[in-house]
Each structure stands twice: as structure tokens, then as C-alpha cells.
């Protein structure tokens, strides 16, 4: 069977289910008696099992099956959830996630059977694995469990002289269209009687969410053997176990299964139809959203970008004609392209929840691992960011959160000694600020010991001992230096430093920046500022000789004109200007991009760019003005040019380089 087209769907959906497993299990840990939650978790596990089965991921299926058994026991009140059980369940979910990762990478689930987990899960139930293998198989002498409605239907059938049979149908392993096969079985059985119950549900069977077995309960006046033979006459049926249910063998299930929420009156007459109808309603509800491949959105985005470029070009032409009607149409075009652009951007936006959602689980584990007590409080999960940014955010945030837990939050005893609440607080929040998205990671721990950082910097030879009058910011900057964080020594340092350079690099690649605020004894706050979107930015176009360059407006603080004599040369030929009593180092764009110096000028135009708190003045030839530009990649062949962050196409079709402001300030 051609599976590849379903693989993407499987992966997306499995991720959702694993996420909701994690979420709900965290909640369950808080309130272990919440049956609603257990039910929800059970359902996710059940669906995962079915999906894995359909895709032929046997190991994954076995593991979810064992998990489902435990959850079923908990749901039926046969088992009480305790922390040990939760740990095993969490580990199981981790293992499922690992399967998924392997599936993403290779398309197969790999060889890992996770038998220790399967055993651990079975051990919880106190039963060897085999016993649990076929939970739906009818066993002689065992009571048959149905919910209220079915039980009543069965009882009524008996009083009317019907027999009640249960058939356990096993399809051939090579069967391709399982649901079609099952449909034939249903149809065949309906020639003899009414199907009053099926397991899994009709909907799940239709969706092929079952392995190779399903069971149906039938009321009929025909002999059981006749029906069984009729089922067996359908091809690709491997086996049919038939069983007559006698009175006294039926038990009411306490929980209603989702499938069976059907009104009693219709039951015997119209079971299948009603269930189908109901399921259609739920289907309609879910089909309001569509999953779209991000590449398709990229194509759409590119087309919109093209449209914006050609629009600018037409605008330029329109000025020549000076025709009112023409101008009006252009204005209209302008409005449409702007709205279209906004709309496409919105489609690409996803809530940061996508990354945030895995953190509560991570922090729970981390607290246990470190033997610390802290709480993670998240806010602004619904803040939306461009999809490409969200996907890249995970690693830096994990880094910062780990840092906060590991280096920031003190041991409970130490906290109490310092008059702080025993349990620490780590806050993760996201919000919009103009054209930026801000994400803050804040802890109420001990803060960064700047004195130690300074010592470290001197040790590393980054700082001379006589350079003592550094600002707080300058000291903090050391933390982000790649050479500052070496594995062996930094862990001795009470402050941070582990991998912060990685965090910074990643955020800067995304066109953002990181700031740190820290107070000794009070805590530390990392502030990440990111552009809302990567594709279109406001830029200032400047020239040097006949070349045009774009500088992102977000990183420009101001533009000043400076007389030649006000540019002072300080040590080693470095140039500076004084701006409102602040020393600002100066660079010439011509030398940055490797061109000849400009002709002698009496006045310079200086674009002051900032990176964090650091300012640098860039002397440019001329300013052309500000406009929206579409960022395009220079492509793989030219990657690695640090100064240039991309290119853009101008209104006249020519290409301009976009300068990376982070590189300008170095």
C-alpha cells in the first residue's frame, strides 16, 4: 500500500496526540482522581495505537496497547494512579515520541521494542503481556461488558425471543482495505439480524482505526453457525470466533464509551445509521481547519512578494503619466496587495504555544532531576509568530529555561535561609510589542554574580586586570562570547554561561536579539526580541558609489549629519563621533563592502545602528529612503557571507544586498 502520503498526516496527528497525552498527564498528576482526564488520556492512547497499527508500526502499537491497558484499568477504577505509575506513563510517552522522531527521520519506527516499558506497564496490572493481548476477544465464562443502552437492547432482544451473539472477526494480515472488508461483514450480518454494538466503534472501523480485529454484537433469530459461515464466506477473513451471549453474562459498564452515546429508542432499529450520522457531525466540526504544507505557504508568500515588487514598479511608472484615474487604480491595487500580504502573513502565523507546550513537562522532569523546587508559569501562549520563527525557537528557550532551573533557582534550603519562598518561580511569557514579539524567561533565583563573571573573563584573557570600570552591560556581554563557555570550567561558575553564545547566535540568525537583566539575589531575566515575520521588513535604502544597500529599520536608532571635522580619530586609527555626550564608533560603508573611499566630503551622513545597547555609526553616501522590502535568500551557493543577511529586489527589478546589522556593530 502506498503509505508515504499518509505518513505526513500520521506524524502531525501523532504529535498532537503525544502533546495532549503530556498535557493531560501533567494535569492528572495534580488531580489523580479525575476520571474525565483519564478518559481523555485513554482516548489519545487508543487513537495512537490504532494509527500506529494502520501504518504498520508494530512496536509503537504494542507499547500503546500496554499503555492503554493500564489506562483502561485506571478508568474502570481497578487501579489507582500513583506517582510511580505516572513515571512509567511519562516514560512511555517519551518512548512514543522517540518512535515518532525515528519515523520522521527514516520513515520506519526502527528496531527498539521498549520491552522494559511494556513489561513495566504490564507489571502495573500484575499480569504478563499475553493476557492482555486481545482485550476485545470474547472469553467463555467471562462477563460481557456493555454500556447501559446496549444492555437494555440486549435484554429487550431476549424478551422478544432473539438470540444475542458476539462475533470476533479477524481480518487477514494482508488485507488492504480493512474498513471495506469490515463493511462487507456488517452488511452480511445485517441480512440475519441487527448489529447493536461494535468494538471498536463503527467510526473507528470506517477510519481504519483498528488493527485486524473487531467484534460485533448481533441480535438475531438465525442460528449462530449460519451467520458465522456467512461472514467466513467473505474473502480475506482469517477467523471468526462466534459466541452466544446468555442472560446473566452481561455486565453494565460504568463508563460510557464515546461510541455508544446513542439514544436507546433508536438502538435496535437503526444503530449503525445513527452512529454514522453522529460521527458525521463531529467530522464537520473538525474539518474547519486545514493542515497545509509549509512549503505551499512559502510558494504563496513568494508570489505575494512578487506582486508587491511589481506593484512598486507600476507605482513608479504611474508618476510619469500623471493620470488621475490611473493613480486611483494603482491606489486600489496597493490596498489589495497590502491586505493580501497581511492575510498570507496571518496564515503563516502560529501561536508560540507550539513550542511552549512541551516546557511544563520538561521542567517537571528537570525539577526532579536537579532536586529543586520551582514552578513554571507561562503566559501569552497565544501570541502569534511566523511559523519559521516558532520552529527555531525551541532550542534557545530550552537552553534558557534549563539555565534558569539549574543556575538561577537555588536549593530549597538556601532559598528559605535567604528569606525567599521555598519554591522558586520561573516565568515564561510572550507578548507583542509593535512589530516585534518579545519572549521573556525570568527566574527569581540568585542572579548573575557579575564579579565572578569578571574574574572569569580575566582568567580567559578576555579582559585585562586593570580594566575595571566596565558597565554592567559590558560584563554581561562576556556571557555570550563563544570562548567564554567551555564545558569543564563554567559549571563551577555560579552564574550562567553554558551555551549562551549558541542562544545568541540562533536568535540573531532569526533577526532578533537577546538582552539580560539581572540583580544579585533577586533573579535574572532574559529578554528575546524577534521580528514578527522573516519575509518582509522595513528597510532604509542607502548608497555607496553606485551600489544600493538595505539596512533593516528595526536596528536603526537614528540618522545624523556630521561635519567632517567632528569625526575624531582615536587610538589605532579608530574613528568616533560624539553624540549627546556619548562616544559612538564610526565605520565607513565603503570599506565594509570593500569599495574605494568616497570622494572628499565636507559632511557625512551617519546611520546609527544599534545592537542591544551598543551603537555604531555607519557612514553612507546617500539615503534613498525607507520602504518595505521582501527578504530573499542568497541561496546555498553563497551562504556563509556574514555581512549580508539576504537580498531584495527593488522596484526597478535590480537587486540590493541587505546588510546584517549584527555584523555592522562588531
Amino acid at each position: 500500500m502506498e503509505m508515504s502520503q499518509y505518513l505526513g498526516m500520521f506524524i502531525e496527528e501523532a504529535r498532537d496526540h503525544i502533546q495532549s497525552l503530556n498535557d493531560n498527564m501533567l494535569k492528572l498528576e495534580e488531580s489523580p482522581d479525575d476520571l474525565q482526564l483519564i478518559n481523555e488520556i485513554f482516548r489519545s492512547a487508543h487513537t495512537l495505537k490504532g494509527m500506529a497499527g494502520t501504518m504498520g508500526f508494530v512496536n509503537m502499537q504494542k507499547l500503546t496497547h500496554a499503555m492503554e491497558n493500564v489506562l483502561a484499568a485506571a478508568r474502570d477504577g481497578k487501579l489507582k494512579v500513583n506517582p510511580n505509575i505516572m513515571d512509567v506513563l511519562f516514560k512511555t510517552v517519551d518512548a512514543l515520541e522517540e518512535y515518532l522522531d525515528v519515523i520522521v527521520a527514516t520513515g520506519t519506527e526502527g528496531q527498539e521494542t521498549n520491552s522494559h516499558l511494556v513489561n513495566a506497564l504490564n507489571a502495573i496490572l500484575g499480569k504478563p503481556a499475553e493476557d492482555m493481548a486481545v482485550s476485545s476477544a470474547p472469553k467463555a465464562g467471562k462477563k460481557h461488558e456493555y454500556d447501559e443502552f446496549v444492555v437494555r437492547a440486549i435484554e429487550r432482544a431476549w424478551t422478544q425471543g432473539f438470540n444475542v451473539y458476539k462475533f470476533n472477526v479477524e481480518l487477514d494480515q494482508n488485507c488492504l482495505l480493512k474498513s471495506a472488508r469490515a463493511y462487507l461483514v456488517f452488511r452480511a450480518v445485517e441480512e440475519f439480524g441487527e448489529i447493536i454494538h461494535s468494538k471498536p466503534s463503527v467510526q473507528d472501523i470506517e477510519d481504519e482505526k483498528f488493527d485486524f480485529e473487531f467484534s460485533i454484537t448481533v441480535v438475531s433469530k438465525q442460528p449462530i453457525e449460519k451467520i458465522r459461515e456467512r461472514i467466513l464466506s467473505i474473502s480475506e477473513i482469517r477467523e471468526v470466533k462466534a459466541l452466544e451471549i446468555k442472560s446473566g453474562e452481561v455486565e453494565r459498564a460504568e463508563e460510557k464509551e464515546e461510541v455508544e452515546e446513542v439514544h436507546q429508542e433508536h438502538y435496535v432499529q437503526e444503530t449503525v445509521k445513527v452512529v454514522r450520522q453522529q460521527k458525521q457531525e463531529t467530522l464537520q466540526k473538525t474539518s474547519k481547519t486545514v493542515r497545509v504544507d509549509i512549503e505551499r505557504l512559502d510558494v504563496l508568500m513568494n508570489l505575494v512578494s512578487e506582486l508587491i515588487i511589481i506593484k512598486s514598479r507600476i507605482e513608479g511608472l504611474a508618476k510619469k503619466y500623471n493620470d488621475r484615474q490611473y493613480e486611483e487604480s494603482i491606489e486600489y491595487l496597493e490596498r489589495i496587495t497590502t491586505s493580501l500580504h497581511d492575510a498570507v502573513m496571518k496564515v503563516r502565523m502560529v501561536p508560540v504555544e507550539r513550542v511552549f507546550s512541551r516546557f511544563p513537562r520538561m521542567m517537571r522532569d528537570l525539577a526532579r532531576e536537579l532536586g529543586k523546587e520551582f514552578e513554571l508559569v507561562m503566559s501569552g501562549e497565544d501570541t502569534e509568530v511566523d511559523r519559521t520563527i516558532v520552529d527555531e525557537l525551541g532550542d534557545p528557550l530550552i537552553h534558557l529555561l534549563r539555565n534558569a532551573a539549574d543556575h538561577g533557582i537555588e536549593d530549597p534550603e538556601e532559598r528559605v535561609k535567604n528569606g525567599k519562598p521555598r519554591s522558586g518561580l520561573i516565568k515564561l511569557c510572550a507578548y507583542h510589542d509593535g512589530n516585534n514579539v518579545v519572549i521573556e524567561v525570568e527566574d527569581d533565583g540568585k542572579g548573575i554574580d557579575l564579579e565572578k563573571v569578571k574574574q572569569k573573563a580575566i582568567e580567559k584573557g578576555l579582559l585585562k586586570e586593570d580594566q575595571i570600570d566596565l558597565s554592567e552591560q559590558e560584563i554581561i556581554d562576556f556571557l555570550f562570547m563563544p570562548s567564554f563557555s567551555t564545558k569543564d570550567k563554567v559549571t563551577n561558575l555560579s552564574g550562567r554561561g553554558v551555551g549562551l553564545d549558541v542562544v545568541k547566535t540562533k536568535i540573531e540568525q532569526l533577526g532578533g536579539m537577546v538582552e539580560v537583566k539581572t540583580q544579585k539575589g533577586k533573579g535574572t531575566k532574559f529578554i528575546i526580541r524577534l521580528p514578527l515575520t522573516l519575509a518582509i521588513i522595513q528597510a532604509l535604502l542607502v548608497t555607496v558609489h553606485d551600489e544600493i544597500y538595505a539596512i533593516p529599520v528595526a536596528s536603526i536608532r537614528e540618522i545624523v549629519d556630521v561635519a567632517k571635522e567632528d569625526v575624531k580619530v582615536v587610538q589605532k586609527g579608530k574613528e568616533i563621533i560624539m553624540l549627546r555626550n556619548q562616544v559612538i564608533p564610526i565605520k565607513h560603508l565603503h570599506s565594509i563592502v570593500g569599495l574605494e573611499p568616497l570622494l572628499d566630503k565636507k559632511k557625512f551622513t551617519v546611520v546609527i545602528v544599534r545592537r542591544g545597547e551598543k551603537l555604531t555609526g555607519i557612514i553612507v553616501d546617500k539615503l534613498l529612503g525607507q520602504q518595505d522590502i521582501v527578504i530573499k535568500s542568497l541561496g546555498k551557493y553563497l551562504e556563509g557571507i556574514r555581512l549580508i543577511s539576504g537580498a531584495t529586489i527593488l522596484g526597478d527589478g535590480s537587486v540590493a544586498m541587505i546588510l546584517d546589522p549584527n555584523m555592522l556593530t562588531v
Partner: protein
Amino acid sequence: MEQYLIFRLADEHYGLNVNHIENIEKLMPITRVPHTKEYVKGVINLRGEIVPVIDLREKIGVEKEEFGEETRILIVNWKGEFKVGLIIDEVLDVVYLSKEDFDQATRDRNEFKFSIAKYSGMLINIINLEDVLFEKAEEV
């Protein structure tokens, strides 16, 4: 039998397997990209796509010359990963070459190795695209 595009660089004939070639473009404005190798002339706007352009003469060490009327940019696609434009002096022909057309001998020119094919009296230096697009190990 495979198809080759035959083109001219200075007074020599070169060939490139057409499977690599997406389009042949006339010369268009090229925007310089700072801090790149000398032979990288910059990027062009190929119908909305930014494509780097390299001067094949400079890359393989043929003497530099002003671009002329017949100068073309061959847009080649490297395994679907990226596109590069190769500036050549003149497109001559597209021909079928079979194994028999190739010489046993190869020709070394600077650090490049060309297979040699004969076609209606012409000697054609067949270019290995990988050599042209990627730097030799010692340069990296």
C-alpha cells in the same frame, strides 16, 4: 547518447551536459556581492529569484575579457539544491555525444580536469559541473 550544450570560451570549445542546464539567459544587470570570490560576479534577478552568477572564464582560468553581444548566462541547477549562472562567451550548438565520441585522454587545465570529446572536427572540453561549482579541498 547524451545531449551536450557546446559553447565558446575565448577560442576554445566547451561542453556541458544539458541535464544540468535550466535556461540560457542574455546578459542582465548583475549586483555585486561583497566578500565573495573574485570569479563570483554577483547575483541576478531571475524572474524574482536571486541567482548567483560566476564568470566561467575566471573560474577555470581563461583570460578575462569584456562581455559582448553573444555573452550568455547558463542557468544550471545543482541537484535541485541551488541554481548558479555561468557566464560564457557564446552558445554554439546542442549535440548528441556517445561514448565513442570521447577520447581516452583527459586534459588538465589549472586544477581542472576535462574529458575530451570530438565532434565534427571540433575538440570539446567537457566540463564536470561539480568541479566548477565547488572549491577544491585545499582551498576550503
